[in-house]
Structures are given as C-alpha cells and as structure tokens.
Symmetry: C2
Subunit: 185 residues, 2 copies
C-alpha cells in the first residue's frame, strides 16, 4: 500500500489562515491532486480530546449538557479537550473527576480516532475507567453539567430516542457491549 499512499497524496500549494479561535482554527489549503488538477480543502485544526467510558456497579456514567452547535442538550460520556502539553491519561483522569467526581483505580485506552477526517484533525482518545471512587465534581466555569449512571439497556434506549447521539458515546456503548460479550474491547 505504501506506493499507493504516495501516489494518492495531495500536495499543498498554498495555505490561507481564516480564523484562529479559542478551541479551533480554520485554514483553507489549495492542493495538487494525483491527476495534476487542483482543489481546495477546508481544514479545522483542533488540539484533540479525551473521553471516558466509566463503569461503576454495572452501569456507565453519563453527563448531560447543552451543546450549542446542536442547539439542544445531549447525554454523553464524560469528555473534554486536551490542555496544552497535557498527557492523555492525565487528561482522561482530570475530565472524569471534573465532570463526574469519580476517580478511577483502573484507566485503560480503548482506541484513538479522528472524529471528522474529511474536514478536521481532531483526534479523540477513548478510555475505559473502572474501580471508581465517588467524590466532588469540579466543572469548568462555562460548563453546566448533570451526571448520573445508566445500564446498557438504558443506553440503547437513549440512542434509539436520540438523547444519546454523538459518535464517541455510541462507540463507547458498542465497545461496552462487546466487552460484556467477549471480555475484551
């Protein structure tokens, strides 16, 4: 495949910065395609994020918060963007405590994935947290979050009725089901 990957590469001809924000930045690249033609690529840059499938007494910890891009509140697993220079595992532990109060005796990486590879470089690192101990929450000052826990059946019902509707949480629910069925992710 390596020759193929080189063959299909898109070569950057120019980069136009459009916006540099608090969380994301946007640039537009002009690229040369494998057939010699040119095309534009709209690219969102994001620092990356962590998310946590936190399992406690046979249930999964979820948080509900308002998501402005969707103009509605959604039920999700705890997650947040990486702070500058922050180590992944430390970020996962920090987000879990901040949003839910739980600290984890065991925290393992399940997988890392790009959320929208067509237009963004955001990579999300999905952890599973077990051996949880409850404690006080500490959300960011602009975060308003409610936290509770649900069974796999309740998670499937929330997916079916649309209250859970984001990629990382749906991935986590499938991963949890596979873990229940096979003992591995």
């Amino acid at each position: 495949m390596s020759e193929h990957r080189k063959l299909y590469e898109e070569v950057t001809l120019s980069t136009t910065p459009i916006y540099d924000g608090k969380i994301i930045s946007l640039q537009v690249d002009e690229v040369r395609l494998p057939n010699g033609a040119t095309a534009t690529r709209e690219i969102v840059k994001h620092p990356g994020a962590v998310a946590v499938l936190a399992l406690h007494e046979g249930k999964m910890i979820v948080v509900e918060q308002f998501r402005k891009p969707l103009e509605k509140s959604q039920v999700e697993i705890p997650a947040g963007k990486l702070d500058l220079g922050e180590e992944l595992l430390a970020a996962a532990r920090r987000e879990l405590v901040e949003e839910t109060g739980y600290s984890a005796g065991s925290m393992r990486l399940i997988s890392s994935f790009y959320t929208s590879p067509g237009f963004a470089n955001e990579m999300l690192h999905l952890y599973v947290a077990e051996q949880l101990t409850p404690g006080a929450t500490n959300p960011d000052e602009d975060e308003f979050i409610e936290c509770w826990s649900i069974t796999l059946e309740e998670a499937k019902a929330l997916i079916a009725n649309g209250r859970i509707s984001d990629a990382k949480t749906i991935t986590a629910v499938y991963a949890w089901q596979v873990y229940q069925l096979t003992g591995a992710f």
Copy 2:
C-alpha cells in the same frame, strides 16, 4: 429532564459569520450561560453525511483515500456528504456505488450520530448494506480511492496499527462485531 434542559440552555446573544465554504461554514456565537455570564462558542456547520457498513461474503468493504486534514491516507468505510436536498437512503446508495461499485439489495439505518458535538453540527448516518452486487465505480472528480474488503479480524488489526482511525469506521466495526455476536445492532 426537560426542566433541566431548559435551565441549562445557552441563549444566543450574537452570531458572527467567519467563513462560508464549499463544504463547511464557521460562525462564532456569543451566548448567555445559565449563570448569567457570557461565553463564545465556535461553531462549524456541515450539511451532514452518510456512511455504509457494506457486508459481502463475510467481509466488510473498505476504501483507502488521502485525508488532507490528517496529511495521510486512511482506510475507512465508504462515506460522503449529503448533496443539497438529498434523501438519506439515496445518498447512502449513491456513495456506496460511487466509491465501491457495489449496489445493495438491502440497506438499513444502524444509527445517526453527531461526529463532534462540541464544535460542529455534522450528523453522520450509518447504514448497513447487504446482498451486494458488484459493478463499476464512479468517484467524484477530486476523489482518488482504492477499494477492497476485509474480515473482522483484519479490521481489528488495522485499528490496532492505526490505518483505520476514524470514528465512523471504528463504530461500524464494533457494530459489525455486535451484529455477528447477537444478530442485531
């Protein structure tokens, strides 16, 4: 939860359009938080997309293409953005034929999910296609794609080595495993 959802709503105070592109647009909203403070929200608008878990002779159809935001080639399930006014099922059938040549006797929705609800409104609709018939591909003029098929074990190996690394494909692989284990998604 309905009172909670209203309580936590972020009210738009102003919207500043930043960019209106070929695939995405970007705006920055100033919002009033539940505690009366204000905050900014960077919001990418996207028309939505479809993706297809296409199953043929016990294998999953994958495509490999260069992803400019990642500066590398990745293995993914067939997918693409919705055309203006296009019906979801029609879009799923179109993308599958364009990128792989296969037409499907059966095409069912598995789930619909937001890819990055923190900063984007992109919703991806994941279908499962079965009873496949091969045919000629017809990619977009700026798409350079290679297509083949892999077993579940091969998919897990490609996830482990990072050649599969996007949310929709990892979700599809977990969904496929659950389908194999339980007969349902």
